[in-house]
C-alpha cells in the first residue's frame, strides 16, 4: 500500500522514461565513452528501472536522479564484468585490433571529441552530470558519495584535464 501511494504521488514509469531517456543516455555516453555500449546499457537501465519502479520514492529524489543512479550501477556492473573478462582474455585482448568507433557526441569538434575520449570515466561522469545534465552539486555529490567541495574540485580538475588533452591533440 505504501509503495502504491509512492508511485501514485509521482509520474508514471512511461512518463518518466519518456522525459528522462535523453538524460540517461547522455550520462551513459559520457561515462562509458562508447556510444553503442551506452545505447545497450540505457535499454538495460530502463528494463531494470521498470522492475524496481515500485521502490522509487519521490520524496527521496527526482526520477531523473533515481534513473541516473540506476544507470551508474548498471555501468559499474559492466565495468566490473569487462575488467574480469579482460583479465581472463588478456593475451587475446592485447592483440585485438582497434575498430573504427563512431563519434561519441554529434556536433563536437574532433579535438574536443578526442580529448573527451582520453579522459577517465570518472572525469567524463562528473562532466556529464554537472555540465551536460546540469544537476545540482549536492545531488551529484550524493550520487558519487563525496562531499560537495570534492565534487566541485573534481569538476574543475576534469575540465582542466579536458583542456590539457585538447591542447595535446592540437599539438599532435
Amino acid at each position: 500500500m505504501l509503495t502504491r501511494r509512492r508511485v501514485a504521488a509521482g509520474p508514471s514509469f512511461a512518463e518518466a522514461a519518456e522525459a528522462h531517456l535523453d538524460d540517461v543516455h547522455a550520462y551513459l555516453v559520457y561515462l562509458l565513452g562508447d556510444r553503442d555500449l551506452a545505447e545497450e546499457l540505457t535499454a538495460a537501465t530502463f528494463e531494470q528501472a521498470l522492475r524496481r519502479w515500485r521502490r522509487f520514492d519521490p520524496r527521496r529524489g527526482t526520477p531523473r536522479t533515481w534513473l541516473c543512479q540506476l544507470a551508474r550501477s548498471v555501468a559499474l556492473d559492466h565495468f566490473r564484468a569487462e575488467g574480469r573478462r579482460r583479465r581472463r582474455e588478456q593475451t587475446y585482448a592485447a592483440a585485438e585490433p582497434l575498430e573504427e568507433r563512431p563519434p561519441l557526441v554529434e556536433g563536437l569538434s574532433p579535438t574536443l571529441e578526442r580529448a573527451l575520449r582520453a579522459l577517465s570515466p570518472a572525469d567524463r561522469e562528473v562532466l556529464a552530470l554537472r555540465v551536460v545534465l546540469e544537476l545540482d552539486v549536492t545531488v551529484v555529490a550524493r550520487m558519487l558519495g563525496i562531499s560537495t567541495t570534492a565534487c566541485s574540485t573534481r569538476l574543475n580538475r576534469a575540465l582542466q584535464r579536458l583542456e590539457e588533452r585538447m591542447h595535446d591533440a592540437r599539438a599532435a
Partner: protein, 354 residues
C-alpha cells in the same frame, strides 16, 4: 555572449568549454527510443507480497524478537520469584520461636490478621510465651488520650491488666503513650484486633517463645525432689538411724525442701508466662509513616503487575542493549567500512577504465 556558469565555483576559463559540451548533448538513436518505449509499455511486474525489503524487515523484526525474548525471560524469572516467596513464607510460618515482623515504619496492616491467626497462641496446645509489640498512629492529641483510655478498658474487659501506662505530650501537637498490658493468651488475638482499630498500624512485631521444654524439665525436677524428700523422711523415721547420720539427713531434707519450693515457684511463673500474653502498645500522633494501606483492589493489583512487567522488560531490554551494543557497533563499523571500500573500488574502477 558569456555563457552562464554551471556553478559558482567553476573556473572562468572553463566556462566556454563547459558551454560547448552543454550545447551538444548526445542524442539517443530512434532505435533506442523505440526500445525504451516498448519497455515502458510493458506491464509492470506483479507487486511483491512483501513491501518491506529484507533489511527493513530485519530492523522491524529484531526489536520485536528482542521484546519477546525479554518477556519470556521476565515471565520465567517472575514465576521463579513467586515460588521463592511462597517457600519463604512457609519457612516463616514453620519457625517455632521468633516471628519476624515488619521493621518500624513498615506498615503491613493487611498482613497482621493473617499473622495473628497463624500464630494464634495455644494452637498446638504447647505452653508458649506470647509477646506482641504494636505501634499505632492516631490523628491528634485528643484522640491519643481517648485511645489510651480505650486500650486500658479493652485490656480489663478481656481479663487482663495494665503493667505500664506512660502518657506524654512533648509538644502541643504531638504526643505518645506507652502501654504494657498482660492479657490471657486465649484472648490475645482479640486484643490485637481491638488495638489495631484505635488508629493506623505503623508497625507490629509478634514473638512466640516455646516454654514447654522448660516446663517439662521443671516438672521432672519437682517429681525427683519429691521422691528424694520422701526417701529422706523415710530414713529419718527409721529408729535404727544413728544420731550423727540423722542430723546430716535433716540438713539434706531442709535443702531439698527449699529446692522443691523454688522449683514450684519457677513452674508457677512459667505457667503464668504461658497463660498471659504481654502486649506492648505504643500510641503516637507522629506521622513518621503513612497510614497502613488497605488491601489493594483487583484494578490496583493488575496495574501494579503491569508496571512491574513493563519495568522488568525495560530492564532486560537495557541489559540486552548494553550487552549487544559492542557487537552492533562492530557490525555497523564493518558495514560502513564495506561501503567505503566499495565506493573506493568504484572510484578506482572509473579512474582506471577507459
Amino acid at each position: 555572449m558569456m555563457p552562464a556558469p554551471p556553478e559558482p565555483g567553476l573556473d572562468v576559463r572553463h566556462w566556454e568549454l563547459a558551454e560547448k559540451l552543454r550545447a551538444a548533448p548526445p542524442r539517443p538513436s530512434d532505435d533506442l527510443r523505440e526500445r525504451v518505449r516498448a519497455i515502458s509499455l510493458t506491464a509492470p511486474p506483479s507487486p511483491r507480497r512483501r513491501d518491506l525489503p529484507p533489511r527493513r524487515l530485519a530492523f522491524v523484526l529484531a526489536p520485536v524478537a528482542l521484546a519477546v525474548v525479554a518477556g519470556v525471560a521476565v515471565g520465567l524469572r517472575g514465576s521463579d520469584d513467586s515460588r521463592e516467596t511462597t517457600s519463604d513464607r512457609g519457612a516463616l510460618e514453620a519457625t517455632p520461636t521468633r516471628i519476624p515482623g515488619p521493621a518500624i515504619g513498615e506498615p503491613e496492616a493487611s498482613e497482621h490478621s493473617a499473622l495473628s491467626k497463624t500464630f494464634a497462641p495455644g494452637a498446638n496446645r504447647r505452653l508458649q510465651q506470647y509477646q506482641a509489640q504494636l505501634r499505632v498512629r492516631v490523628r491528634n492529641l485528643d484522640r491519643l488520650g481517648d485511645a489510651t483510655q480505650q486500650a486500658m478498658r479493652t485490656t480489663r474487659s478481656l481479663g487482663g491488666y495494665v503493667v505500664v501506662a506512660d502518657y506524654g505530650a512533648a509538644t502541643r501537637r504531638n504526643g505518645e503513650s506507652l502501654l504494657v498490658v498482660r492479657v490471657p493468651v486465649g484472648r490475645v488475638q482479640q486484643a490485637i484486633f481491638r488495638f489495631s482499630d484505635l488508629g493506623a498500624i505503623v508497625s507490629q512485631r509478634i514473638r512466640i517463645q516455646d516454654l514447654q521444654a522448660g516446663f517439662n524439665a521443671l516438672e521432672r525436677r519437682i517429681l525427683s525432689l519429691r521422691q528424694r524428700i520422701a526417701r529422706l523422711e523415710e530414713r529419718l523415721a527409721d529408729p535404727t538411724t544413728a544420731p550423727e547420720q540423722r542430723a546430716r539427713l535433716r540438713a539434706q531434707l531442709l535443702a531439698e525442701r527449699q529446692n522443691l519450693s523454688a522449683a514450684l515457684r519457677a513452674r508457677d511463673a512459667t505457667l503464668r508466662r504461658g497463660r498471659l500474653a504481654r502486649i506492648t502498645l505504643t500510641l503516637t500522633t507522629r506521622g513518621e509513616a503513612a497510614a497502613a494501606p488497605g488491601k489493594p483492589g483487583y484494578f490496583e493489583r493488575t496495574l501494579s503487575d503491569a508496571f512491574e512487567v513493563v519495568g522488568k522488560v525495560l530492564t532486560w531490554t537495557l541489559y540486552i542493549l548494553i550487552v549487544a551494543a559492542p557487537f552492533v557497533l562492530l557490525a555497523l563499523l564493518v558495514l560502513l567500512g564495506e561501503r567505503a571500500r566499495r565506493r573506493r573500488a568504484d572510484e578506482r574502477l572509473l579512474e582506471q577504465t577507459g
